[in-house]
């Protein structure tokens, strides 16, 4: 007996960012369309065009069990439940000045899971104006911990001193 919910949870733990989530959704839709069609290698071929190598392996591992045990109906249920579980995830948006590496993303995800909760997914947006640090948006709340904001605040607070120094 395959525990679909557990399977989904395992899959979600391996997903770090929202863009990956969207791709996995597309992949599961593609799989759902082809559950009752036997065209060898077709689904795998589509998955390779949609997903990165890591995600292809992650997704294939999650779904292979159903195919091995010949349970297409449960596989269909898996894709439906996956969609529902994806919808329940809470999104933490991060505006950063650079595109982080996978390792860096992994460490952020782990920290967030530990401190905030397991049902969080990251959405990274590149914004050069940030300079350093990040802007965080989570459930409508906003926090700016950026270098740009720090510099801006510094110049506002020290305006008089700077002007005085420049005049000298």
């Amino acid at each position: 007996m395959i525990d679909t919910n557990e399977n989904i949870k395992k899959l979600l733990r391996k997903v770090t960012v929202k863009s990956e989530l969207n791709l996995l959704l597309q992949a599961s839709e593609e799989l759902k369309k082809n559950i009752y069609r036997s065209v060898p290698g077709k689904v795998e071929g589509v998955l390779k065009t949609l997903l990165s190598e890591r995600l292809v392996k992650v997704f294939t591992d999650a779904t292979a069990l159903y195919l091995r045990e010949g349970k297409p109906a449960e596989l269909a249920e898996f894709t439906e439940n996956l969609k529902a579980e994806f919808g329940k995830l809470r999104v933490l948006k991060l505006y950063m000045a650079f595109e982080p590496s996978e390792k860096f993303l992994e460490s952020i995800k782990n920290w967030v899971e530990e401190k905030v909760g397991e049902d969080i997914i990251l959405e990274i947006q590149e914004d050069l104006g940030v300079l350093g640090g990040a802007r965080l948006v989570f459930e409508g709340k906003f926090k700016e911990i950026t270098l740009a904001h720090l510099i801006d605040s510094f110049f506002k607070e020290q305006r008089e001193e700077i002007l005085y120094a420049l005049k000298d």
């Binding site: 948006v137 459930e139 409508g140 709340k141 906003f142 926090k143 700016e144």
Partner: protein
């Protein structure tokens, strides 16, 4: 704009993202601390107002003409909509957000702001309507008198002379020292220009404020227009002035509210209007009245306008407005076509609180005119049978013609109250019996001009009329005041 947006973002620590836009409605994801009626600012710098909250999103309307982009960031401003108010608004023509519509005449910096939506004052701060509100239009002042603080609905078809009457009332009241506020709700640019043109040519602009929204403005902005006008009126009332507010027109306002509600998927009620269409007008009109202030009794007199189609004043919005006002003046397009000016039907028009402001003498004049004109209307039905009418009936019918001629006000903007009474006396007595229409017209013209230009004549008339207490007393020496021969 960006700086203002960032300031509010840092202040509130909350952000929202537009997920769906159906202009003017905007559905925002985020803003956990949002409250109804709170103002929001978009990344583009445009303002909006939150109208409702749901589990999934915040529903707001944008005050911008341009459609809001999906994904645009929104920040709440932690306050309800407020407008700057002050004496600096006098002489300006502004939009409902108090931005000047004339770039050559910007809105000055004003220190005070007031909330656009405020709760009407309770009964303890209100006073009985005691002072007459002269409109300068004889038919209204004598037969359908108004009081300061009254809400009198002006209702009629398009092009039946309503605007002319409203501008005349504004002129008379401003000349008496009141502040005039004209709310132009969703009209064409030409109509706005015409209203502005009349007010400027009458040289009363420096004591008036025009709050205007044109038909191509966003519906959310048009909806705000009468509330902004009323807020400005409240400021001037509290500053110790009487105010006359004209709202032209509330049937357009109701249509705009319907449009906004239907786009926002609110459940349609009768004639597809939303269920709160009565409330949006009643809470507005309840803010007018006669109030006890630190500088004595000060009033906000309100003349809301309702348009009818082919004289149907039993429509939904029209009956709503009739029920929530202190009377109505009905403009009949048939009378307008017959050449009657103003085209007011005095028999269907009603004033609920105006008569208590008039002296017994003026009430007697009004009653005399009304009953006489009613009786002659009935007489005409018999006279039309074609039989030879008796002398008495002929006299009455001729008198009726003279009375209608006296009530006709095509040529004159306003007629002072004492002149109205004098002219009534001259017409009611048989002094002008036998005169032709043209002669009566010229006689009236002479008296009005002489009253305006000659101080002695004015003094004499004011003293004579002021000292009379009944129609009988008025007619005693009326012949002395027939200046038409001078």
């Amino acid at each position: 704009m960006q700086e203002e947006f960032n300031n509010y973002l840092n202040k509130t620590g909350e952000i929202g993202f537009v997920t769906r836009a159906n202009h003017p409605w905007v559905y925002v994801d985020g803003l956990p601390g949002a409250r109804p009626e709170e103002i929001v600012i978009f990344e583009s710098g445009e303002l909006g107002q939150i109208l409702s909250l749901s589990e999934a999103h915040v529903e707001a309307v944008s005050f911008s003409k341009a459609t809001t982009r999906v994904g645009e960031r929104v920040v709440r401003m932690d306050k309800t909509l407020e407008i700057p108010v002050g004496d600096g608004l006098l002489g300006l023509i502004i939009n409902p957000l108090v931005h000047s519509l004339n770039p050559a005449n910007p809105v000055p910096v004003l220190n005070e702001t007031r909330a656009v939506n405020s709760t009407p004052s309770g009964i303890e701060s209100r006073s009985k309507i005691k002072n007459p509100c002269e409109t300068g239009v004889t038919l209204v002042d004598l037969m359908i008198p108004l009081g300061k603080g009254q809400r009198e609905l002006v209702i009629g078809d398009q092009k039946s002379g309503k605007s002319r009457f409203l501008l005349r009332s504004l002129l008379t009241q401003v000349k008496e020292g009141a502040i005039g506020i004209y709310a132009v709700i969703g009209k064409s640019q030409i109509a706005i220009k015409q209203i502005e043109g009349f007010i400027r040519s009458a040289k009363i602009m420096e004591r008036c404020v025009i709050v205007a929204s044109s038909a191509d403005d966003p519906s959310s902005l048009i909806f705000l227009t009468p509330y902004t006008a009323m807020t400005i009126a409240e400021y001037f009332r509290d500053a110790g002035k009487n105010v006359l507010v004209v709202m032209d027109d509330l049937s357009t306002h109701a249509r705009v509210h319907r449009e906004i509600s239907l786009i926002g998927r609110r459940f349609p009620g009768r004639s597809s209007y939303p269920g709160d269409v009565f409330y949006i007008h009643s809470r507005l009109l309840e803010r007018a009245g006669n109030f006890k202030t630190s500088s004595g009794d000060k009033s906000i007199t309100c003349l809301p306008v309702a348009e009818t189609v082919q004289g149907d004043f039993a429509g939904y919005i029209q009956t709503n407005l009739i029920s929530m006002t202190d009377g109505h003046i009905l403009f009949d397009s048939k009378l307008f076509a017959e050449g009657r000016r103003p085209a007011v039907d005095p028999f269907i028009s009603v004033t609920r609180v105006g008569r208590q402001t008039r002296s017994g003498f003026k009430i007697e004049i009004g009653n005399t005119l009304t009953s006489f004109l009613k009786n002659t209307e009935k007489l005409k039905t018999f006279a039309s049978f074609g039989e030879e009418a008796g002398e008495h009936i002929k006299k009455m019918l001729n008198k009726e013609i003279r009375i209608w001629q006296f009530l006709d006000q095509t040529a004159y903007d306003t007629i002072p109250g004492n002149v109205q009474v004098l002219l009534f006396g001259l017409t009611w007595s048989d002094l002008w019996q036998g005169k032709t229409k043209e002669e009566i017209k010229q006689a009236i013209q002479k008296i009005i001009f002489q009253y305006e230009l000659d101080k002695d004549i004015r003094k004499r008339i004011d003293e004579y009329v002021g000292g009379r207490r009944s129609v009988r007393e008025l007619l005693e020496r009326i012949g002395e005041f027939d200046f038409s021969h001078a």
